[in-house]
Symmetry: D2
């Protein structure tokens, strides 16, 4: 079928390619003219052909509403907009209602798979009406992996992004699990090769997974990850997952731990730890590290003998 | 080759069967005469045949030393004992030294795979000397999965069990990750079927894994897990992992979270929460729940109007 | 001075009494006619006397806007409304703007002290304009403890409730700290009397605090807290604190731990732990506890010998 | 009475001074001749005078056994050794038995109070036999604060250090609580002065405590703690507390969180976060930070458009 595709970045570009290879006609639009097949959103819609038209939007969370509002002006009754980005699920139902006033149908679709999706297929979690899902099903069928898994019509508007949000929360904690284990094995020095140990777990073990395969890929390129900084971004879904858990009184200690570890990794001098050091100094005359002195310098508090018992 | 196998429970029995199917001659011993091929450990050793003899021990952590001491009396120079149980790694090096005094060689072997190992092969992490590993390699080759993964000679004595210990620590946190996500999806009610959502993630998604497959199996049998209690045991390796991390000052918030969640699940009335309730009552005259009154009864403190602001 | 007081529950009633003892004239209103000094909010406002009038609102979060809207209809230019409840800080600025359209001034005031405030004074954290604070300062001076502490003009509208929210987040984690230590001492059995040990810490030790004093009070009444259920409510501020931290990428592992422990304490059968048990059963044929069987019954999976190694 | 005092560092020196002011005769020994009153441990013991002699040992954990072994050679029947350091409680019972063979009595005494103890008195938690405690009671009475609190005979040998260990575990979590709250208030910028807000909590509020007083002292010296590094040591008791909790299956999420935050604060490049970054890069082509590039440089992965959705 014919599909408009807004946002031709890494994810959008790959998805367009997978769709074309499956025989669909894809008309792409991107603000970068070198990537774009059309001059404007309007031009893109005109190029798609006869209604009902399907437009897949693959842009950052912050740009989704702008794009959708512009599309709403040029699409019409029975056309379908699919938001495939990592949007916050609470925005989906209002967005669907707004579009419904013009007769435009809306689906939210969580997409997982990263750079591997172009060859292996993308996991898709879709929210919206049954009839609208049916209209777009050929697109979903081409994007998803071959076989019985990788697609779910999760529920009403927002259910797709909600499922994707929780998926990413789980992902954060699983990544943290491997990362903690890796750090511990490296720190202990009891195994000859952490890389080989991780590699051995890829079959037969209870913790075999695709993320483990990826971890081994990374270790094969840089065995002790010396070329990477201990710095990890987070992109919203982890925070939203914890917020949703707070609303529902669901304990999520592992997911939140994973998130807080990322937050801390981005702090050069952790403010909370300054306060810990300050209190220790107040009651114990403990050695504290002067921020200006760099990592190697520890300044003893007046009268401090470092060899004597601390924290009394 | 010929191998003695001590402990014919679920794990040991299955492993013996896999070894036999691979053409090895297995002489098993178990304290349960119905399972056992021989009347005693001594009889088992005699049945194995000509040295060097290999005996695989698959008994609970607490029984390992008793079994090994008895085996040490009947085995001799060049024979090999392999401890395949979930033993604590710090006991391996002393055990190896003790056996070396009699010329008996020792390997520690962490084993993963559970009830699926009999058909899919077991992941094996081995600690000990190169030469001893070579002697037992035909056994390892038959137990491990086909293909390039599933076996690692992790390092010196103890390295095998250390690797297995960390493996299980990681496993705890990964299981916790899926469990938190599952609980959140169930609590939120935004997806039509949590089971189908989990199922969809089995291909294409970043969090596809064998544990996810198993989770879906479980949901296929009992969609909302109504037949299970919210109660989870732990079997040592998780605790040892956190202890090892403490020794090395490695932060393991996700692994420890997973462990603490299991601890808490086994408490009928969490003592710490009694103390929280007690303090709340002291400063706020808060409503507290009387232990005898059951889950539905909340007794207001004298003068308490539940509708008025709490925790002030 | 003269002050209207809406909400004569435990907190409001006590505060009114403290104000009266300090010489102020308090006209109270409550939906409970037995507590109320006036028949309606309107009647209460009329009774207060000449403008500018100050009305302190001490009602549940959910009722604040209703009360304030009704007050807005009867108060006028230069009058002051103070919200002393545990309201969410993000509502304060919009509320202040809405009232400002009618010339009514607004302050948000976080209040701490619980049932002890009537004698010891309340800690007050105030948000709003300098001039408005000055108008109400006699009220604040009478409510706060004697001495130099216990009052802060925290900042603009919302700053008072924000400060109180963080205060409560800290409180959650401090309570959790004592609770964990108490549980550990009770479980270990190494000290003859946990109550006496806690009591000894009340002077000289680094962890002496008012919450410790309250904990000892509770232990003096019920040494092992046998009469309490291990069940703790939370009242919003803890969750909002974690949400604020998520927005700002501030790691708050201790505060969130405290909150999650309360969530878990309220679950009869923790859903996440059902999932852990389900996965353990899938890979290990582990013993799982049947929900119907009660706490003492553990059903072995088919073929399971409980004495054999688990989690392999 | 007369008392020998080994270790005249910050804690030992202060304690000696407090004892002298109370009228005791203190003979001190330190490896630093400038601090020492005697040339050797033997000389110190001879100077103490007639038996039964009491020797207080205030040296680092690692030196305790050396000092005690040397003292055991010069002390005799009925003499008393008190270990006042932050020693690990599991060593106390064996130590007591060893000394008992020579008729020497032993007490373990956890001491809290830091540099403030000299004037305010020290909180003391003592383990050992009733009769031995009675012999040393005049020393304890002079070291403890005036009033009814600050001293407990906690139980048998080891109970004193166990109580102190848990005390410090609680302390870690309380400090973390204030530190998280402080960081959040600083990050949010909603209160005009975090220092003044903290200061206001010192009376009337539920979280008033001595640690809060100390925090305010620190903020009064350096309002935003600009002069401190975000780096916090830990000195053993926190780790031992978590280990004890693991042994007893007691969940201690807040205490362990506090400990892990300190561990992380001492890592320049968190290894676990390198692994997170590595996995993110593998599946997402995410931007990762090159360790050599410094905190400001973020290198885009090939083909990455940072504005497009991440973690898909």
């Amino acid at each position: 079928m014919q599909v408009g595709l807004v946002g031709l970045g890494k994810m959008g570009g790959n998805m367009g390619e997978r769709l074309r290879e499956a025989g669909h006609t894809v008309v792409g639009y991107d603000t970068d003219p070198e990537l774009s097949d059309s001059e404007s959103l309007t031009a893109m819609v005109e190029q798609i052909g006869t209604p009902p038209r399907v437009v897949w939007v693959m842009v950052p969370d912050t740009a989704v509403d702008t794009v959708i509002d512009e599309l709403a002006g040029v699409l019409g009754e029975g056309d379908v907009i699919i938001d495939g980005g990592n949007s916050r699920w609470i925005h989906d139902a209002p967005r669907a209602r707004r579009l419904a006033e013009r007769g435009i149908e809306y689906l939210d679709c969580g997409v997982s798979g990263g750079v591997w999706g172009i060859t292996q297929g993308y996991a898709l979690m879709v929210g919206g009406d049954e009839g609208t899902v049916a209209k777009a099903q050929p697109i979903f069928d081409s994007l998803k992996p071959a076989g019985e898994f990788g697609f779910v019509h999760a529920g009403e508007h927002g259910a797709g992004h909600f499922a994707k949000m929780v998926h990413n929360g789980i992902e954060y904690a699983i990544m943290q699990a491997y990362a903690e284990g890796w750090e511990l094995l490296e720190a202990a020095g009891h195994v000859r090769s952490v890389r080989e140990t991780f590699n051995s777990w890829r079959e037969g073990s209870v913790i075999k997974s695709w993320l483990l395969d990826l971890a081994v890929n990374a270790l094969n390129e840089d065995e002790h990850l010396d070329r990477l900084a201990g710095y990890a971004e987070d992109s919203g879904e982890g925070r939203w997952t914890v917020e949703a858990a707070l609303d529902l009184a669901v304990p999520v200690p592992a997911i939140s731990s994973a998130l807080f570890a990322r937050f801390a990794s981005r702090q050069d001098q952790a403010p909370a730890m300054k306060m810990i050091a300050a209190m220790r100094n107040q009651f114990g005359g403990h050695t504290v590290r002067d921020v200006a002195a760099g990592p190697e310098h520890v300044e003893a508090a007046p009268g401090e003998e470092p060899a004597h018992p601390a924290e009394q």
